[in-house]
């Protein structure tokens, strides 16, 4: 084999390459996103995913091999979720003042997200396992996968639908809220957190700390509400 071929074999089996590529792809996306004034349509996660999938397909690299490097980034989701306690603590006075409406709004959002997705997918003739996989799509990935399993869906498909939902919510949420003339940062954060979990929260956090704190809180509450209510409703409906 040529020296270049040897080097490729060495690097492509080393976690360093795919870890580095993940960061480079994300930074490229982030650059573009900031260049255009945090335009929600240029979501850095989408740009990074498109670049990386293109590269992996072009080089014939499997997802498992990619993940050997990317897992180090993936792992940080846990501690970063714990860290959401800090913006929540900083904004706790605001949260406490509107605890009642906030909890009720999360319930409304949680039910409308899952029931409308199930209704539309069923009406449009999606297979039952796809309907069950789509039901928890607004919930943060690990819980959504657990819920899908209980409903008879495919957990790994749910993980992808959850990411797609997060991206859609982060892209479409801000312009939709502008259209509805909702300017209250608390309500904006709450809505994005319920509909688009962590990816929405990431976007909210970059734009405004109040919105970020409400979004992180909404993500946690929505996960709890959906995990309890959806399996109950499911046994009722089907």
């Amino acid at each position: 084999m040529t020296p270049v071929g040897d080097l490729w074999v060495y690097l492509s089996t080393n976690p360093l390459l795919h870890l580095t590529l993940t960061l480079v792809a994300y930074l490229a996306g982030d650059r573009l996103y900031r260049r255009f004034g945090l335009n929600p349509l240029l979501n850095p996660v989408v740009i990074a995913i498109v670049l990386l999938v293109g590269l992996l397909v072009a080089t014939g690299t499997s997802y498992e091999r990619y993940f050997e490097g990317a897992q180090f980034v993936h792992f940080l989701l846990g501690p970063a979720t714990v860290a959401l306690a800090i913006p929540l603590y900083n904004q706790f006075d605001r949260v406490r003042k509107s605890a009642g409406p906030l909890l009720a709004a999360v319930l409304v959002g949680s039910l409308s997200a899952s029931l409308s997705a199930v209704g539309i997918a069923t009406l449009m003739g999606a297979a039952p396992e796809i309907v069950a996989s789509i039901a928890p799509k607004s919930v943060t990935t690990p819980i959504a996968m657990g819920i899908a399993e209980r409903l008879g869906g495919l957990p790994s498909l749910t993980a992808v639908l959850v990411i797609l939902t997060g991206i859609l919510g982060a892209m479409l949420g801000p312009p939709l809220l502008n259209l509805l003339r909702i300017r209250d940062w608390r309500a904006r954060g709450l809505a994005i957190g319920v509909a688009a979990h962590g990816i929405g929260t990431a976007r909210a956090m970059q734009v405004n700390e109040v919105a970020g704190a409400f979004s992180g809180l909404a993500m946690g509450l929505n996960a709890l509400a959906t995990a309890i209510l959806l399996p109950l409703l499911w046994s009722w409906l089907f």
Partner: protein, 121 residues
């Protein structure tokens, strides 16, 4: 930095252990967030190094979703088969959830006599 990172991991680990013991339907990290939050309330403030570490980690929260998102390549076939139903269901339900949550929150607050705040746009 190392102390703060350790604290975050300890909270996550405690969350995982509690979930394992009680079977609560929440992931360990979310319970870890609750534990840290309760700790901060008890302490009455956020230590400065923790504020800095959390700020760094959360500034690029969205990076952390990239590895899972690349997993879409495993499901492209299944998504193609039902792309219209999945696409319409995802877009419509996400838009509905955003609108319903925001309107419900502001509507209920108005009902209880609170005015909206801020000027986000």
């Amino acid at each position: 930095m190392i102390e703060s990172l350790t604290l975050l991991l300890v909270c996550q680990l405690a969350g995982e252990v509690l979930v394992g013991l009680t079977g609560l339907p929440v992931p360990g990290p979310v319970l870890g967030m609750v534990l840290l939050f309760v700790g901060l309330l008890a302490r009455g403030g956020v230590p400065k190094p923790l504020q800095t570490t959390a700020g760094t980690l959360l500034a690029h929260f969205s990076l952390l979703f990239v590895p899972a998102g690349v997993g879409i390549m495993l499901h492209i076939g299944r998504l193609q088969d039902a792309w219209l139903a999945i696409g319409v269901a995802l877009v419509a339900s996400t838009a509905l959830a955003v609108a319903a949550t925001a309107i419900a929150m502001l509507g209920l607050e108005r009902l209880f006599g609170r005015r909206p705040e801020g000027d986000g746009s």
